[in-house]
């Protein structure tokens, strides 16, 4: 039998993989002073990958294990954009704080490759392996400041807990394989439809999968690692973790649950509802007491994933669209906020929120950008976050889950308090030092891109939405 393996579907992934090796090799031939060039080299690779992805074909190959569709493409764009912004934000940071810069960029690219494979995986094994590729690179990246105790601790914690949760997840996968005899998402759903009653063991497998993926999403109660790792990891890595890694988890979640476990929706919807509620309440409430901006953003990201899971409950075309839109909005707003944190840290060397006092005088650009990103995270029009939340909540309301939407709106109000307390520091407090803060050109461009994304999606959502709408076709 002639096995059709169409490698052309994999061009973007393969290209980035090759480019990663190019980056690693180029590292050998670069002197310590010109290491930032490795960063620029990585950026070029990422931009070409983005172009390749946008122009790539759609279809399935490798016996249906690999599936290139609009859904995967939407997520690929999110991954690549986060990688671009992360690399752009790292250049100055890496020069100052990191050794082995070439490997640093290489690992970011490896992680991105893993995520891109993940979003195209139509098979539990591919999905698991690519998820691990993405995550293991991130373990190393978190611990990249070897001499820094917090960074080492972050990497260690992330690794141990990540391994534990992976174990749970692979256990769930093996149970599903045992009961259905397949690892293909499509065949699993067919088998599931044939089952008259769902065996308790299957429910257990679903719970294991939820636990494993919730760890990647940092949803409550699998979030414990998140604040510690976010605080300890080098800030660009935190930015990447908070967006790309979550988006990867979400892509896997949508693939598995909307595609293959769809027939068992009645089983998993209540579980996600509980997780979403806990994430929103815990994330938003605990964020109030934080005085480190990275920890604040960590808890905020826990809350944000709670909102996304509210949309996830919708289990419809609108739900997929809303999650993609929200992740796009979240990508620009959250990485944007971290970009400001990085720019600030590069000059001031502090992550304490009180250190931001008087930033509006010291750097009006950074201050207003931060406010816009935070407003987008709260979901205030006309920022992208508003559109995203609006769609997420509409998806849940369409299915009649009113109480969780009410809870989401209420907790959003709580979030306004801690987000705006940062703005309060920047605009209404005066710091001891009021010298101007300059910002590096690469970083400034990255902030400008994030700003543009945040505002443009908010003002012209319809064009983005129509582009994304195809993403749901894979499922409905």
């Amino acid at each position: 039998m002639n096995i059709p393996i169409d490698l052309s579907l994999l061009y973007p992934e393969l290209f980035l993989l090759v480019w990663t090796f190019v980056v690693l090799v180029a590292d050998f031939f670069t002197s310590e002073d010109s290491k930032p060039n490795i960063g620029y080299l990585s950026l070029i690779g990422l931009i070409i990958t983005a172009i390749l992805s946008l122009s790539s074909k759609q279809g399935t190959t490798f016996y249906g294990a690999f599936r290139a569709d609009t859904f995967g493409l939407s997520f690929n764009i999110i991954f690549i954009f986060s990688a671009i912004l992360t690399v752009a934000s790292s250049i100055e940071f890496a020069k100052k704080n990191l050794k082995h810069q070439g490997e640093f960029y290489g690992l970011i690219l490896f992680s991105t490759v893993g995520m891109m494979f993940l979003s195209a995986a139509d098979d539990l094994l591919i999905l698991y392996v690519s998820l691990e590729l993405a995550t293991i690179s991130l373990f190393i990246l978190s611990a990249f400041m070897k001499r820094d105790l917090k960074s080492t601790e972050a990497g260690m914690k992330y690794f141990i807990l990540g391994a534990a949760s992976s174990a749970i997840m692979i256990y769930g996968i093996s149970l599903i394989y045992g009961m259905t005899g397949s690892i293909s998402l499509h065949i699993i759903s067919l088998r599931l439809e044939e089952m008259l009653t769902l065996s308790p063991l299957f429910v257990l497998a679903i719970i294991f999968l939820i636990a494993g993926l919730s760890f990647k999403l940092a949803a409550v109660p699998f979030h414990m690692w998140c604040p510690d790792v976010y605080e300890g990891a080098p800030t660009p890595v935190t930015a990447y973790l908070s967006v790309a890694s979550k988006a990867a988890g979400l892509a896997a979640l949508i693939r598995i649950f909307y595609d293959s476990l769809q027939p068992a929706a009645a089983q998993w919807i209540p579980l996600f509802m509980a997780i979403a509620a806990m994430a929103m309440v815990l994330g938003n409430v605990v964020a109030i007491k934080q005085h480190n901006i990275k920890r604040l953003l960590a808890y905020s990201s826990i809350a944000q994933i709670g909102y996304v899971l509210v949309g996830f409950l919708g289990d419809s075309e609108l739900a997929v669209t809303s999650m993609v839109i929200y992740m796009l909005a979240y990508l620009f707003a959250n990485i944007g906020a971290f970009l400001v944190v990085i720019a600030f840290y590069n000059k001031i060397g502090s992550d304490e929120i009180t250190a931001y006092a008087g930033l509006s005088k010291r750097s009006p650009f950074l201050a207003i950008s931060m406010v816009i990103f935070l407003l987008s995270l709260v979901g205030i029009p006309p920022m992208a976050g508003f559109i995203g939340k609006f769609y997420l909540f509409s998806a849940a309301i369409q299915k009649g889950y009113y109480w969780i939407v009410v809870l989401a709106v209420l907790t959003s109000v709580v979030s306004l308090y801690y987000y705006m307390s940062v703005a309060y520091q920047m605009y209404f407090k005066t710091g001891d030092d009021d010298s101007k803060i300059s910002i590096e050109p690469t970083l400034a461009v990255a902030v400008a891109i994030a700003l543009a994304g945040t505002i443009l999606i908010g003002v012209f959502p319809s064009s983005v939405i129509s582009a994304v709408f195809g993403a749901s076709r894979a499922f409905f």
Partner: protein, 641 residues
């Protein structure tokens, strides 16, 4: 340009953002940005006008903002000749006022802030004009109200200014409540808030006349507040506490005309509902008469102009009420120019003599010739003297009222015209002619700088010629450009023109006798008609009336609520206290939290929980792993139960 007409409105917004965030300390840059933005908007409006002349439209540009299955929230632009005219009026007056403010506000410590507010206002006003749905109109309507509040109270150190701001805000809000109710009724019965969809529904008789009357009157309530019509006119004279350029822009030419604009936009209702139409016409006529009568005796130069504005807006409402779409909007345009000019002229005078009281002026003509001449031009125009702008537009209104057969209203309107020319020339003579009544102030007065006089000249030009586009013998004039449903050429009524001119001239002549030649002593006239004089001087006692009834009632009601609250809260606090005391025997430690919680409320509780939850985050990796497995167990338990 029409396709992208949103740019016209967005430019001032950009200016606002730039000034607020980047140039809040830079006088020159801030004013430069604001003026550039509004001038570009003006040029673009001219382009848009030419496009509209070629194709009247209406052009509807829809912009789907949020669309989900079963619900959509479109924003749209409704662009027809009226929109085009309004854009021009707003951008021209706004440009003049921007430039004028360079001189007038020179040296003010909050100079950049003033320009940022002007930009914000211009943005909101242009947005209001462009909006293609009642929702959009309502949003911008509130925005202009907000900027009006900010600018009236711009010199908030003066308590009169900040009080006037509050008064304006609250009074107009009363009307806005009607507007909002009108929108709700409209959405409930018509299921749309879009101009065009609504118009076609009305045209096809798909909405019952009763509902239309309700919508019409409710929306008109909003217009009554914004355009300072009886009985909500009391805020406008007080709003004169704001800087004079603001009075010219917001409280004479543009924002107050927004009510007239809104009324013009619901012309299709007026045509169908006789009740709504007559309500509008009679309120307009009564306002015109009442305000003009008050203006006869006021001594504050800006307040005379404020009452004059109210009176003229009443004219426009009257015109719209009798179905005179063309004449109402035409007068809106000409009035914007000459009234802005009058205010800017008054500002120039105030700038020179530092007082608003006309009793302390006199003879200023020699000191400030440009201001005086332009002021005369505007006064002639508002009095309706041939062939200035005001003549043509006022005549259109008389014609419209007469053709519809409302002879009583016609008599009122003509009478008001006579009163108008009298109080305007009383003002002119007292300010610019005769002997200086305050020698000291006279000696220190001087002509204003060029950046103030040039805008006066531009507006004077427009006060003379802008009305010529509406000369009734003109076949391609205003009435064949801005019209409702289809253009109709009315033959001019010559005898009416003659009568109105005679009335206007006799008003001027009377003022001449009393205040220039002094052959009739105004004081003696005042003595003779003392009751009427005091009645007018006290502005028909409206403020006192409202103080004694509405405000008193509100205070009384507040008192009742307050007592009610105190009772309940006292009871509640006592209850909590006793409960706490009772508990304290058993739960000594707990009760602190209950009382604290009741006192400090949810905020404290949230923070407390936050702190508590934070303690779970021990930093120990084994604890974290434990929680993960605990989480799995919890999920299983959750599923089993």
């Amino acid at each position: 340009m029409i396709e992208h007409s949103y740019i016209i409105a967005l430019l001032p917004l950009v200016s606002y953002v730039l000034i607020v965030f980047f140039f809040s300390k830079r006088d020159k840059v801030a004013s430069g940005i604001a003026i550039t933005a509004v001038l570009i908007s003006f040029v673009l409006s001219v382009f848009a006008l030419f496009e509209t002349l070629a194709d009247k439209g209406p052009h509807i540009i829809r912009f789907e903002w949020i669309v989900i299955p079963g619900f959509s929230l479109p924003l749209s632009i409704y662009f027809d000749p009226l929109t085009s005219v309004m854009l021009l009026v707003v951008t021209i007056v706004s440009s003049c006022v921007h430039i004028y403010s360079l001189g007038y506000m020179h040296g003010d410590p909050r100079f950049p802030r003033f320009f940022s507010f002007l930009s914000l206002f211009t943005f909101s006003m242009l947005g209001l004009v462009l909006s293609g749905s009642f929702v959009g109109t309502y949003i911008f309507w509130e925005l202009v109200g907000l900027t009006s509040y900010l600018l009236i109270g711009f010199w908030f150190e003066k308590s009169s200014a900040s009080n006037a701001g509050k008064k304006a805000f609250i009074t107009t809000k009363t009307g806005d409540l009607g507007f909002l109710l009108g929108l709700l009724v409209m959405y409930f019965f018509a299921h749309t808030l879009d101009y065009q969809t609504f118009y076609s529904l009305v045209e096809n008789n798909q909405i019952s006349a009763g509902v239309l009357t309700a919508i019409g009157i409710l929306l008109f309530m909003g217009a009554v507040g914004k355009s300072a019509q009886f009985p909500l006119h009391v805020w406008l004279p007080d709003a004169m506490e704001g800087p004079t350029p603001v009075s010219a822009l917001i409280h004479a030419a543009t924002m107050v005309a927004a009510g007239v604009y809104l009324t013009a936009r619901i012309m299709s209702i007026i045509v169908v509902s006789h009740t709504a139409a007559m309500t509008i016409a009679y309120i307009g006529a009564f306002t015109a008469f009442m305000a003009a009568s008050i203006a006869l005796v006021q001594n504050d130069i800006k307040r005379v102009l404020a009452y004059s504005t109210i009176s003229q807006l009443g004219y426009m409402m009257l015109a719209l009420g009798v179905g005179g779409y063309v004449s109402g909007t035409f007068h809106l345009m000409t009035h914007a120019f000459f009234k802005a000019l009058l205010f800017l002229g008054a500002g120039s005078v105030i700038h020179a003599v530092h007082t608003n009281d006309i009793n302390e002026m006199g003879g200023l003509q020699k000191k400030m010739p440009i201001t005086a001449i332009t002021f005369y031009i505007a006064s002639l125009s508002i009095s309706g003297i041939f062939p200035l702008s005001g003549f043509w537009s006022k005549d259109e209104i008389f014609g419209a009222v007469m053709r519809e057969g409302h002879y009583f209203l016609l008599i009122v309107a003509v009478l008001v015209a006579g009163m108008t020319s009298f109080y305007m020339f009383r003002l002119c003579f007292l300010t610019f002619t005769g002997k200086p009544r305050d020698q000291h102030k006279y000696d220190h007065s001087h002509e204003s700088p060029k950046n103030m006089t040039y805008p006066l000249m531009v507006l004077a030009f427009l006060s003379i010629f802008a009305g010529w586009v509406g000369i009734p013998w003109l076949h391609k004039g205003y009435s064949s450009f801005v019209f409702f449903e289809h253009p109709h050429h009315e033959s001019p009524v010559i005898w009416l023109m003659i009568i109105s001119t005679i009335v206007a001239l006799s008003g001027i002549y009377l003022a001449y006798l009393m205040y220039y030649k002094r052959s009739i002593d105004p004081v003696k006239v005042g003595e003779r008609f003392k009751p009427i004089y005091t009645f007018l001087l006290n502005k028909w006692y409206f403020d006192e009336l409202y103080m004694g009834t509405v405000i008193k009632f509100v205070y009384w009601f507040m008192e009742v609520l307050y007592r009610f609250d105190v009772g309940i809260i006292d009871w509640f606090v006592n209850f909590v206290g006793r409960f706490g005391l009772f508990n304290s025997r058993l739960w000594q430690t707990f009760d602190v939290y209950i009382i604290d919680g009741a006192v400090n409320g949810a905020g404290y509780l949230t923070r407390w929980i936050s702190g508590g939850l934070r303690k779970i985050q021990t930093g120990q990796v084994q604890n974290y792993a434990f929680v993960i497995f605990l989480g799995v167990v919890l999920l299983i338990l959750f599923r089993v139960m």
